[in-house]
């Protein structure tokens, strides 16, 4: 089943991927990255279809999608 | 038989540029340089080179910027008001260290002024008319032959220093006709390879050319590097001197004013007045040595210009009260006659 990785240090916590994921598999984590943002984090359930919507909307291209 | 052709100044600049392998010309209509734009609109197309009549002088200088990025020799021409519009573009070219030739066929100013010849853009040309600490090399021919020759040197100098070069003439020089020897030998310069151009990163790492330096101290460092370049330009100073050795008074003039002074000098010499002439050809870098050397035995200088007094300031800076510096100027398109200059000489002596 598919999954994604998120570069936590490069994420600016804009949250657009959270909205984009049709299965709501991405949440904003509570920890801070070095820049003081709450990075997005992938709660790796089985439902990820590798659709890549999160990748499409990410302004900083910090997500990679595996299918 | 030397190929001598009777030619207008403006046209000679165009033909010299073509001979120097100018690949792209961008122009916009403004008197008194229109015949060059028209000439290039025919010749450049015939030679399968680039000609564009742009939507403004601003667009034209930025097209030169674009062509220069690729390493191609490019030029634009205009007259005073149009040159004012190009100043930002020229500053960007200086900041990005891009070569290019800019011809200014000066006309009366300020504002719309008039369309006759003038020399009121000396400051703008020699001080870097745009924003920031930069200079352009400035060449000021005083004959159609010299225009033909110097535009070729201008392209070499632009490439040598990776810097815009301004050719400063005026409506009179641009419109007058004189014979030109098309095979006249012109100084050639040793040119560095163009290993900095943007033409696609096929065989190399990608490059960027820009004038924005946001890192701490980066722009300051860049400015000092440009400063070194402007100092190095001193090795290419050009200046003509006539009868200075036995002169009791020396005229200092460039361009068309120097032509008038040459006649005035002959008239005065016939009346036994020992007059000499120093004619700066590079206005930047300014020929300081020739003037300093003259102050060793000459105590009176008369600077003649077609403005309210601009080059006279540079002359005063150099002479620095080692001798008297007088000024005779006709602004707003006024052209002094040789008699006026001779009278002025007599008044001073």
């Amino acid at each position: 089943m598919s999954r994604i990785t998120i570069d936590k240090e490069k994420c600016k916590g804009c949250g657009l991927c959270v909205l984009a994921c049709p299965k709501n598999l991405i949440v904003m984590s509570d920890e801070f990255n070095k820049k003081g943002y709450h990075p997005a984090s992938f709660s790796s359930g089985e439902d990820c279809t590798g659709c890549g919507f999160c990748f499409q909307v990410c302004p900083d291209v910090v997500i990679e999608v595996f299918k | 038989m030397a190929k001598r052709v009777l030619m207008k100044g403006n046209i000679a600049i165009g033909e010299g540029a073509i001979k120097a392998n100018c690949k792209a010309y961008f122009g916009y209509p403004i008197t008194p340089q229109n015949d060059l734009t028209a000439h290039m609109s025919k010749r450049m197309v015939e030679l399968d080179r680039v000609f564009i009549q742009s939507e403004s002088e601003i667009a034209a200088i930025n097209m030169v910027f674009g062509a220069a990025l690729t390493g191609a020799r490019a030029m634009t021409s205009s007259s005073s008001p149009g040159i004012s519009l190009k100043q930002e573009g020229i500053s960007y070219m200086a900041g990005c260290e891009l070569p290019g030739v800019i011809l200014n066929v000066q006309r009366g100013g300020p504002g719309l002024g008039n369309i006759s010849g003038a020399q009121g853009d000396y400051f703008q040309a020699t001080r870097g008319g745009g924003h920031g600490d930069y200079r352009t090399l400035v060449l000021a021919p005083d004959s159609v032959q010299e225009m033909y020759d110097l535009v070729q040197e201008a392209f070499d100098l632009a490439d040598k220093y990776r810097n815009p070069v301004v050719i400063l003439i005026d409506g009179v020089l641009g419109q007058m006709m004189e014979p030109v020897d098309l095979e006249h030998d012109v100084k050639k310069y040793k040119l560095p390879p163009k290993d900095w151009i943007l033409d696609g990163c096929k065989t190399r790492e990608p490059r960027s050319i820009q004038s924005l330096y946001m890192k701490e101290g980066a722009l300051e460092e860049h400015n000092w590097k440009l400063h070194e370049k402007y100092k190095k330009m001193k090795q290419d100073i050009k200046c003509e001197t006539q009868h200075v050795d036995d002169a009791e008074i020396v005229l200092v003039a460039f361009g068309i004013s120097a032509r008038v002074c040459k006649s005035a000098m002959q008239l005065a010499r016939k009346e036994g007045i020992k007059v000499g002439l120093i004619r700066p050809i590079t206005l930047f870098p300014f020929p300081e040595e020739e003037i300093l050397k003259a102050t060793e035995h000459v105590k009176k200088f008369l600077v003649v210009e077609m403005n309210l007094g601009q080059m006279v300031e540079d002359v005063k800076l150099i002479i620095n009260s080692k001798a008297d510096v007088h000024f005779y100027g006709r602004p707003g398109g006024g052209l002094s006659s040789q008699e006026e200059i001779v009278n002025e000489i007599s008044r001073i002596l």
Partner: protein, 245 residues
């Protein structure tokens, strides 16, 4: 399992300076992916504007220069005329393209210069802190329209694609929006089409991309996307405005 989506070669690893949720980052990716997919990275020269995207040469992995404010179409003209077989594109904001650079835009288009223009319309001058731009909507508050843009004193937002469509030299004009995955994929298709028009030497192409500016709009990234959908798209309708290719 295979990695199917990742940063393309024409986009450097440098962290972009854009604010969280800013549309520039997405558009930079779309341009870079297009260039890689068309296999033209090694013969492309990009021109960055003066504005937030001025640093584009730090983010794109191909030759890029930076033009004076409003002058990219003139610089692009100079490059393309001398190197006709290179791919030349400008990347400009609304102030750059249709305020100070209006003449350069209209005349490069009218000459049918064989270049591609990526026009990022986010209704404000971003870099300088959110002033009114030529595309600022009526009633929209900016640092220079504190009471909302009043057309009686500041005129109307300009629809660039429609403005340029009457020009003979223009071959392809499309307006897209980087709001959600669906629209972003459509935006990429338009950008690819525009570059293809250039590759086919068919003349001037421009893609107008409605993009968000959360910081200067005073909205969070999600609200900014909604602002585009509710306010910008109705005034700046999406779709192909001209296609003579």
């Amino acid at each position: 399992m295979k990695k199917i989506l990742f940063k393309t070669e024409a986009l450097k690893d440098t962290v972009m300076s854009y604010c969280p949720g800013c549309g520039h980052g997405v558009i930079h990716r779309l341009v870079a992916e297009t260039i890689d997919e068309l296999g033209i990275r090694e013969k492309t020269i990009g021109i960055a504007p003066v504005g937030c995207a001025v640093f584009a040469y730090d983010y794109w992995n191909f030759d890029v220069t930076e033009a004076a404010h409003g002058r990219p179409p003139a610089v692009a003209t100079g490059i393309k005329r001398v190197l006709p077989d290179r791919v030349v594109f400008t990347y400009q904001g609304d102030g750059d393209l249709i305020a100070i650079g209006t003449a350069e835009t209209i005349h490069a288009a009218n000459r049918g210069e064989n270049i591609t223009v990526i026009f990022v319309n986010n209704c404000v001058y971003g870099m300088t802190g959110g002033q009114m731009a030529p595309t600022t909507l009526i009633g929209q508050k900016t640092t220079t329209t504190p009471f909302g843009r009043d057309e009686k004193i500041a005129g109307y937002p300009i629809r660039v694609c429609e403005l340029l469509s009457s020009l003979g030299g223009v071959t392809y004009l499309e307006r897209v929006a980087v709001t959600d995955a669906k629209n972003i994929i459509k935006a990429k298709r338009a950008i690819k089409k525009a570059f293809q028009v250039q590759l086919d030497k068919k003349g001037f192409s421009l893609v107008e991309v409605l993009s968000s500016c959360p910081t200067d709009w005073g909205l969070n990234p999600q609200e900014a996307i909604e602002y585009i959908e509710k306010n910008m798209i109705p005034y700046f309708p999406l779709g192909v405005v001209k296609d003579k290719s």
